[in-house]
């Protein structure tokens, strides 16, 4: 199963439309979490708001995650060690307030955590690649170092 997610803040029709198109070329089921879009999918099952438990369950069950370049989406996919393709929102198309998703996508790709598609064609090629593997993993043993450093910056113990 492929789990597609666009977060819970703004619609992302350009992306959902592209996913709907690719869906005709593959047999694998796709579940897409959408938000207030006007585009009606023909080939993909969509759900609106997912609570964190439902969201995590789909993340866990999926073979592949395809999403906008939100850090919630990226961190969740990495936590479940799933391959993830991200498709950044563009401010010029009214998909976000600014282009930070483009920058996030580029940086996360440079660091080796995600696959990135910047347009429909790249998105299609990545989804059709059946052997897409998870990339770099998150550190699975969070230490106290970061929170201790943060706390010690304001309090003496």
């Amino acid at each position: 199963m492929i789990f597609v997610t666009i977060g819970t803040q703004i619609s992302f029709d350009r992306f959902i439309e592209a996913i709907d198109e690719v869906a005709t070329l593959i047999d694998e089921p796709i579940i897409a979490q959408v938000f207030k879009g006007s585009y009606q999918t023909k080939n993909v099952k969509t759900v609106d708001f997912l609570n964190p438990d439902e969201f995590n369950k789909l993340m866990e069950e999926a073979r592949l995650i395809v999403g906008h370049a939100g850090m919630g989406t990226i961190l969740s996919a990495l936590k479940y060690e799933k391959p993830i393709i991200i498709f950044p929102r563009m401010a010029s198309l009214g998909e976000h307030r600014n282009d930070h998703q483009m920058v996030t996508a580029m940086r996360m790709n440079e660091l080796g955590y995600v696959h990135v598609a910047y347009d429909r064609k790249q998105l299609k090629a990545l989804i059709l690649n059946k052997d897409l593997q998870p990339l770099k993993k998150l550190n699975s043993n969070p230490s106290n170092n970061m929170i201790d450093f943060i706390i010690n910056s304001v309090i003496k113990r």
Binding site: G70, L75, T104, M146, I155
Partner: protein
Amino acid sequence: MGNKVKLLAVASIGGHWIQLLRIINPNNAEVSVTYLSTHPKCEGMVEGQKFYTISDFSRWNFYKLIPAFFRALKIIQKERPNIVISTGAAPGLVVLLAAKFLGKKTIWVDSIANVQHLSLSGNIASKFVNQTFTQWESLKTAKILYAGNVLEQ
């Protein structure tokens, strides 16, 4: 080591919340944590720990910050944390303001999504909180500190 540090950890549902949970290590014996988020369903991710909600808002419905501010005052007075920490977004900023008003230590950790510069909320927070953190070393300054990030954490 003295008594446990009491932390109130605040974030909106979504990426901010997921980052907050990665930063706060629930197994840290020296810290006790109360969580505050913008959706009741977030509680399922911090089961068995103290959890409150506050209403969500953004720059598009900013009038909601007034009741949120008063609710934050109440929660802080009840929980009496030593430190209030937020990863964003706007509701976290309001909780930090309430914490500041009540004389608590306040910390802003800017989202890792802000690669090139601090978020708008982070910039505002940096004007009044005790300490602001960025998750990118390249954005570190004399005033904005870097303590690592949620990927390597």
